[in-house]
Amino acid sequence: MTTLAGTIWGQLRTSHLYAVFKGPYVYFGETGHVPPVRWKGHLTSDTDFIGKLKRVDPAAAFDDTPIFFVGIHIDVADAEPETKRKIARRAIEAELHQRFSLDPLPVAPATNLLSSAPSAPVRHTFNFDKVYVANAVYAMIAAEYQQWLVRNN
């Protein structure tokens, strides 16, 4: 009769990494807001998730396979000086793409990447280990996604 479609919470201007899944496709991104602000674009813009999917696999863009969003709050990025927060999120986003390229199995069956990895900001250092954080983010995204797959099958 009714099913929970998801919950989201958090302060408005805070750092997040997120992933969008639909069938065999996945998209990783970052935002300095609570994720729904950014996610709207992924459903409407020609350059974001649905727009890219339309170009790669038009049938999949319009089929009834459910779409899944997951966001992770990155408080270590918020702890960086304000001018470096975006760079910090980019650094984790680049590492997150690398985690997926090294081993896509945790998010199977989503093995096709729609997002492009940002250029890694190698000139910058942060007060956190970006590889450690990216590993944790990837594990959380994978766990949430796999739980959702189980619940929906």
Binding site: E95, Q98, S101, L102, D103, A117, A120, V122, T125
Partner: protein, 568 residues
Amino acid sequence: MNAITQSIEIHAARLCEAIARIGYEPQIALMDIVDNAVTANASTIRISLFLAPGKTLKNRNSVQLYQVVDDGVGMTNEEIRAAFSLGANGKYGPHSLSKYGMGLKSAGLSLGNRIHIISKKDGQLSSRQTFDVDLIAQKNEFVIRVSELSSAEVGSYSELLPNNSGTVIEIDGCESINHQSSSTTVRKLEDHMGVVYASFITERPVSIGIRVCAGELSDFKNITPLDILFRSQAKAWDPETYDFVSPYLLLDEEWTPDLGDGKAIPPIRLSAVALPQDKLGNPGSPLTTEQQKIVKGYQVTRPNSGCFIYRNGRLIRWGDNLEGIITKDEYNLRIRMDLTEEHDDVLHVDVTKQRLEIDDELLARLKRILDSSKTTAKLVMKKCAERMKMPTGSEGAAFSERSANVPEDDPEEMASGTPPEEVLDRQRAQAAEAEQIKDTTFQDIGIGATGTSTALSDSLFAKVRYTSEVEYKHLWAPYRDAKEGVFVCININHPFYTEFMADLADNSPERLLLEALIFAAGVGQINTVGNLHEVELDHIKMVFSRFHNNCGSYLADFTSENINLLSE
């Protein structure tokens, strides 16, 4: 519909020719034979190159006999015959270096027309068994020659194989095959084997030695293991504390290639390291002398960059650019990829185990994995370039390094066979003369020697020596060392040197080109004096004496007319 089977002809000699031409360079072929020794659990492997009479390290096609001796498990006569069969020994243990059973034949025949095996197993010495292309051509079938050892041969092979087991592989009939100079082969073996077999040398351990014998037996030089990524010295990347000396570890991860068919293959270990720019290792750079040595020891060059692909612990691909993923701008980036035989099909490893082909999907994934490392490596280069200053170093070292592998053949003599006795006499006299001057002009020009590793290069023979031991009017005097070939002494008292050459940085293009011109004249003189036996030696010497007087006099006059030319 009925079908029948019919035999087809096999042209044995043509097939031998084909398998000998699948793209081996001599050092690759020798390492393929060493692979068999490693697979046979050898703990000592000795490689010898015996030069033909009158040939030096610098001559092409100079090897008369290649010999590889190991103390592995050895073979019986039946096992040697099996080793000679094409596609031999199809069943390999896990993590074997072998793959198709063609290595011995294809590698051996790329070196010479005859492959001989004498082996010892359980204390029993075998016959000599020979795979002889000429015999196969004559019989037009695959046959081997089996010869009982004479008592003298039993003695000498027993000396080579003092343990209970081991194998001697000898390859001769090399004169009809066009090969690079043996100095190039030996240099590449010395440079590469420590990297190729690093894990075997350190972990098993295996001792690998190499030597070149010109007449008399010489000592073996042991190969030192080298991790070309210098991972044990690598620091974690931090742009704020970059030190211009250390290697920086940019990637150390396991890659699980997704084949899209649900099949699981073991992960591939990937490592990446960025090294400082090589020029920082030159004398005169802002680094300390000790730091310069460390940087020079990395041998950061384009050929030494890219992906080093290991299969079962053995390097199969040196500095691969991964289909263009690694560009020439990233020549300070070294990547290591560790495969096993379980990845052969996925990555399409070929028969020589030197090449592989990664499909587009996996390449795209690999590119994403390496993107950050590439960006960081470029940043390291930029930082190093900013730190650089004009280098100055020891005179003659740069030329000696650049000319180390340039052949010094007399074009008139390349097609001729063994030289006449008169030529050999003249060459012996030249060698004796060289021995005298070598002692008084000794120059230690260690290049690449470091406190961390000497496996890539120890020291080079000084091809150009700056000395006062030259007749005062002459600018240079050439000599011919019996083993290393030509070297030239340049007169530091000649005004042309004092006014011009001394002011040119030792590794500047201008100095190198002047040294190349002088050295070429030296090679010409040495080869003419040594080989032109139709003309009396005294007459040739008289001509060259006059030639040097004229050159030296002209250059002295030119100098006096153009004082301060370089400051204008």
